[in-house]
């Protein structure tokens, strides 16, 4: 079963760099399509497997992006 979902990261809070680094970290589990818009970054996520796992992976992905942004800010 294939699951598809979309996430929007506001550019005032998240950076493209962080979204990209998080996507790189999860590339073995999920397929990503990142689109950079004027005010937000659109991430289309597609993966095969259980829906429960998918939800967890998406939540973990969001946390990863936040962590990456905090680390970029600290550096």
């Amino acid at each position: 079963m294939k699951t598809e979902t979309r996430l929007e990261f506001n550019k005032n809070l998240y950076t493209l760099k962080s979204v990209k680094s998080a996507s790189r970290a999860y590339r073995d589990f999920v397929n990503f399509k990142i689109t950079d818009h004027e005010k937000h970054i659109d991430v289309a996520i597609r993966f095969a497997g259980k829906t429960e796992d998918a939800e967890k992976i998406i939540d973990e992905f969001k946390n990863y992006v936040l962590c990456a942004d905090i680390q970029h800010e600290l550096n």
């Binding site: 809070l13 969001k62 946390n63 936040l66 905090i70």
Partner: protein, 158 residues
């Protein structure tokens, strides 16, 4: 702090005024909660940041509200820390600058009291110098290698 939608799907969503709580302060506060909840931030209006907390484990309504309260306190803590570090920035720069300068000074200048060996070596060096001077003041030694000289009066003249 307004709570929009709460306690559905193990999640609590509330909004913050970004004039009071700047972006970096919210990030710092979020970082302390990242091990307990899944966090997602959004900026729907100009001075409004919405924070979404989703429990990693199943949480009760009370626990979710408690998390929100803890987060509010952590925000204040982060603001205070930011203010203090801003105030102490110059002092910190002076202290670190001074420490680096001191560390970069020549090692000879930084030497502590000399040990016994060093004192002994210096003493010997001084003695050698004194002996050298003494020899120089005496002038070149008469070796008596000149075949015509007769310091003991052995030579007989006929």
């Amino acid at each position: 702090m307004k709570t929009h939608k709460k306690l559905e799907n193990n999640e609590i969503i509330f909004s913050l005024n970004s004039k009071i709580y700047p972006r970096d302060v919210i990030f710092k506060a979020c970082y302390t909660f990242i091990d307990r909840v899944y966090i997602f931030l959004d900026n729907p209006k100009r001075n409004e940041i919405t924070v979404s907390f989703k429990g990693k484990k199943i949480l009760t309504k009370k626990q979710l509200n408690s998390l929100k309260g803890e987060f509010a306190n952590e925000l204040l803590n982060a603001i205070l820390r930011k203010d203090i570090s801003k105030k102490n920035k110059k002092i910190l720069e002076y202290v670190v600058g001074g420490a680096i300068t001191a560390a970069l000074e020549k090692p000879e200048e930084n030497k502590g009291p000399e040990n016994e060996d060093d004192v002994e070596i210096k003493k010997i060096e001084k003695e050698i110098e004194a002996l050298k001077k003494e020899l120089e003041s005496e002038g070149p030694e008469d070796t008596g290698d000149d075949y015509e000289s007769d310091p003991l009066g052995i030579m007989k003249t006929q």
